[in-house]
């Protein structure tokens, strides 16, 4: 038999999923898949998916922290991709402003009535200088959204296990004078719906987390388990 059979096609699903084929072979395989019978194509896809999900788990074995400066480089590269979007937003805002001016000119003053005072959360989320920093905490993630202009931030925990009985997680804002307690979290405090407000960022450069006994400490007594740079 000179023509490859559909069975050979399935044999190639694993090398295909592992990227263990040349670009030429990949292109040829893609063409054959497009022409293959539905059940064969589905089996091929299922195999590819299973291999990829498996290797995604296996990636735990090779995980390694990249240098910290890579984060800045990655985020900066993406920012530089955004100018057209920013221009669009500016244009939309200008258009919206023009509409409001137009409405006012027609005496529809109600459109300009000042909105109710936004909550601290809304102010932070709307702040132009809003930044987001996330870090791993006890197997979950702590995310801080903060604004220097508003001098406040929000902390959310995701999949962080509750602190062990008789302890709390305690947050510390650290500036050059040392750590200041920024609140504690008990088991309820790490649930997905819990949001913690950081009221006074001041000159702090880091938000750190420790585990503290009882209801928390005046100064950190435990080792710092996570540090999030507020920059």
């Amino acid at each position: 038999m000179t023509e490859p059979t559909e069975f050979d096609l399935l044999e190639l699903a694993t090398p295909y999923a592992l990227n263990a084929i040349s670009d030429t072979e990949r292109a040829a395989l893609d063409r054959r898949l497009a022409a293959a019978s539905r059940p064969i194509a589905d089996r091929f896809d299922d195999e590819v998916r299973a291999v990829r999900e498996t290797m995604a788990i296996v990636s735990a074995a090779t995980s390694a922290e990249p240098p910290a400066q890579l984060r800045d480089a990655v985020l900066a590269a993406v920012q530089s991709e955004k100018p057209s979007q920013l221009r669009l937003r500016t244009a939309l805002l200008a258009a919206a402003a023009a509409i409001i001016v137009g409405l006012a000119a027609f005496g529809i003053g109600i459109a300009l009535r000042p909105p109710p005072t936004p909550t601290m959360t809304e102010q932070i989320m709307a702040a132009p200088d809003k930044r987001t920093v996330a870090g791993q905490l006890a197997g979950g993630t702590a995310t801080v959204v903060f604004s220097r202009n508003i001098n406040a931030g929000l902390v959310e925990m995701s999949h962080v296990p509750p602190p062990t009985q008789g302890t709390v997680y305690q947050m510390w804002l650290i500036d050059d004078k040392g750590p200041q307690s920024a609140g504690t979290m008990d088991a309820a405090g790490v649930t997905p719906s819990a949001v913690h407000l950081l009221r006074n960022l001041g000159k702090s450069s880091v938000l750190a987390f420790t585990v503290e006994p009882g209801k928390g400490s005046v100064q950190p007594t435990g080792t710092i388990i996570t540090k999030l740079p507020l920059s």
Partner: protein, 186 residues
């Protein structure tokens, strides 16, 4: 799926990235950077190349997040498939430039000692994966190492091991079935 607790989060983040949400992108980076960088580093074995490639990968994520379809797999596997493909492309272009044997020829089992493992990925998950890798036969593991971490095609693996193509394909398939079973991937 690897971290059931995280899977749906990554999905949601990726959907937000598709809508050009820079905060979601930063969070996605923080959730996945050690897996991505570690895999790239394992394939490229050079910190400078790995940083460049990781940066390219995340830029591709930013540009193509809208193409992610959760019906076709988890966000993590989408991302790592892309990352692995990039790393392998880089290895192969180095090979084309004639530099590969010296740099990558070893494709050895050991992880470079100077890499700091990510403490966020629970030690028990790493141990579980390591145990599953250990449960493979030597020839199966060698196939995965040469192909997945070494960037060789299955035909190059067959040449390297002087084994015929169908043997190599079977070893790869059996290795993956073993890992799947061991890790409980449905």
């Amino acid at each position: 799926m690897t971290e059931p607790s995280h899977g749906s989060d990554l999905d949601a983040l990726l959907r937000r990235v598709a809508r050009r949400d820079a905060d979601a992108f930063a969070a996605l980076y923080d959730h996945t950077r050690s897996r991505v960088y570690g895999l790239v580093m394992r394939v490229l074995r050079d910190a400078g190349y790995s940083e460049e490639t990781t940066q390219e990968i995340y830029l591709e994520v930013w540009r193509t997040a809208h193409a992610y379809d959760s019906a076709k797999g988890s966000a993590l596997s989408w991302l790592l498939t892309m990352a692995h493909r990039r790393a392998v492309d880089r290895v192969r272009s180095e090979q084309a430039a004639g530099q590969r044997e010296s740099r990558y020829g070893a494709a050895s089992v050991e992880r470079p000692g100077d890499l700091v493992a990510d403490s966020a990925i629970a030690a028990d998950e790493r141990r579980r994966v390591a145990a599953c890798l250990d449960s493979l036969t030597d020839v199966q593991r060698q196939c995965i190492e040469l192909a997945y971490y070494g960037g060789l095609t299955y035909s190059e693996v067959s040449q390297r091991l002087a084994a015929n193509l169908s043997t190599i394909k079977s070893r790869m398939r059996d290795a993956l079935r073993g890992l799947r079973g061991c890790l409980g991937v449905s």
